[in-house]
């Protein structure tokens, strides 16, 4: 076939480390993270930007990594769920998910936690409405959301006592 695209080198900062990843320019960032970088925390749910299971932070903003072509990650700073805990120390949101039973099957959890971490970074004292809006792009088919909201509400309170995420 004519005109086949070549792989490009995507240089970016991934969870604090400079990395270079080889990928086709239109490859989904989700696949590049999972297959090239070996970071399998971000999950594929719907593959069309509806479910939020593939959420990562790109230059500080929450994005669905299934909708970001690799080329657009060039030069970016990316944080995946693997970059949320500081060593063994969990982020307040992660700890709250454990305490309040905010996870069941676990597929939505990395995206849900990152969406909550990103929300609390922007709105450390988020109201219940803001939490509902902030997580509206993350679908969960197990918990019924109640325990997830409880976890995020609790981590809003805990954030005041722990390091900023």
């Amino acid at each position: 076939m004519l005109d086949r695209a070549k792989k490009i080198r995507v240089r970016c900062t991934l969870n604090g480390s400079m990395v270079t990843l080889d990928a086709y320019p239109m490859a989904r960032l989700l696949d590049v993270l999972r297959d090239e970088a070996g970071l399998t925390g971000a999950k594929e749910g719907c593959g069309e930007g509806e479910c939020g299971a593939c959420c990562v932070e790109l230059d500080g903003e929450l994005v669905n990594s299934c909708l970001v072509p690799a080329l657009q990650a060039e030069g970016a700073t990316i944080r995946t769920i693997e970059g949320v805990a500081k060593g063994e120390k969990l982020h307040a949101v992660q700890q709250a998910f454990i305490t309040h039973g905010g996870a069941q099957c676990g597929i939505c959890t990395p995206g849900m936690v990152l969406a909550a971490v990103n929300l609390l970074k922007r709105k450390p004292h988020a109201t219940e409405t803001e939490i509902r809006e902030g997580l509206s792009g993350n679908l969960c088919r197990c918990t019924g959301y109640t325990k997830i909201f409880a976890a995020v509400m609790a981590s809003c309170r805990d954030m005041d006592r722990t390091v900023e995420g």
Binding site: M1, D3, R4, A5, Y24, P25, M26, A27, R28, G47, E48, G49, E50, G52, C55, E61, L62, V63, N64, C66, L67, V68, P69, L71, Q72, E74, A115, N118, L119, E133, G134, S136, G137, N138
Partner: protein, 287 residues
């Protein structure tokens, strides 16, 4: 079936000039690619027939929101998040901010752009009804220069727009002259968050002592394109608010729209809800 990645090219020029040159050299060969929230979905579904794209996502010239005393020029690459964060848009153009806040979740709002929403030309898009109500002007740019046209003339048929293959949407102009109006926006979907609309209704009016001095109404998902309901507007213009007026306006509106049955809703439901939303808008004008 998933797409074959090597058959897709995506190139990112650093500035607007080279991007426009690429589009001009062989019109139709290269197509613009912004935040990817529509195109990546098609790609993954194996339904993206075009193969060569110019990434315009980082072009700084298309990113700014410029403010003058008379107007706002919103760069086409402004995301839904950036629109919601802009204080002047919040104060003076609440329908647009409301539309931006109801488009997808946060992650989509961080990547979806106003220009993309327009160029994708879906009749179910959320921001175009607001832009129609605000009488937006759209400015296109190509290697040959720029041109500006009323947004209401931009959509000419289902997924058809007045834009050449060598052009990009540069910015969207909103006049700041219109103030102190009753504004109303409602998107009706299957659920409150993250749903594509079954019907979307945006409207603004200036009402004095119960009389409608000026009114604009636009709808989404009820016709091949987003639609300004000009006949309904004419019925209301200069009239006093009353239940009789509502009734006659509802009768006009239902003739003005041409909804269809599709996977999201039915024509019957859409006609009924369009009339109900007009009634809600009357309540907003009366309050």
């Amino acid at each position: 079936m998933r797409a074959s990645l090597p058959s897709y090219e995506l190139i990112a020029p650093e500035n607007l000039g080279p991007a426009l040159e690429m589009l001009a050299q062989a019109p139709g060969v290269w197509k613009p690619f912004a935040g990817g929230t529509d195109l990546m979905v098609l790609l993954e579904a194996g339904k993206l027939p075009h193969r060569k794209f110019v990434s315009i996502w980082k072009l700084p010239e298309l990113r700014r929101i410029e403010v003058s005393p008379e107007s706002l020029a919103i760069g086409a690459l402004s995301t839904y998040t950036e629109i919601q964060r802009n204080e002047i848009l919040q104060c003076e153009f609440p329908l647009l901010c409301r539309a931006a806040s109801e488009t997808g979740g946060i992650a989509t709002q961080n990547r979806g752009t106003l220009g993309g929403n327009i160029a994708n030309a879906s009749p179910a898009a959320d921001s175009p009804p607001a832009l129609l109500v605000y009488d937006a002007q759209i400015e296109l740019i190509s290697a040959k220069g720029t041109r500006r046209l009323p947004y209401r003339d931009f959509h000419t048929g289902y997924k058809k727009i007045q834009m050449r293959d060598d052009e990009l949407i540069w910015r969207i102009h909103l006049s700041r002259a219109l103030k102190q109006r009753k504004e109303y926006y409602r998107k009706v979907g299957t659920r409150r968050a993250q749903a594509i609309s079954k019907i979307c209704f945006a409207a603004a009016a200036s009402v004095e002592k119960g009389r409608i001095n000026d009114v604009k109404i636009a709808l989404g998902s009820v016709a091949p394109t987003v639609l300004r309901a000009t006949e309904t507007e004419k019925t209301l213009y200069g009239e006093k608010l009353s239940s009789a007026l509502l009734k006659s306006a509802q009768a006009i509106l239902v003739r003005e729209i041409s909804p269809i049955d599709d996977m999201r809703s039915t024509a019957v439901y859409r006609r009924r809800v369009a009339q109900n939303l007009l009634a809600e808008f009357f309540d907003a004008m009366s309050s």
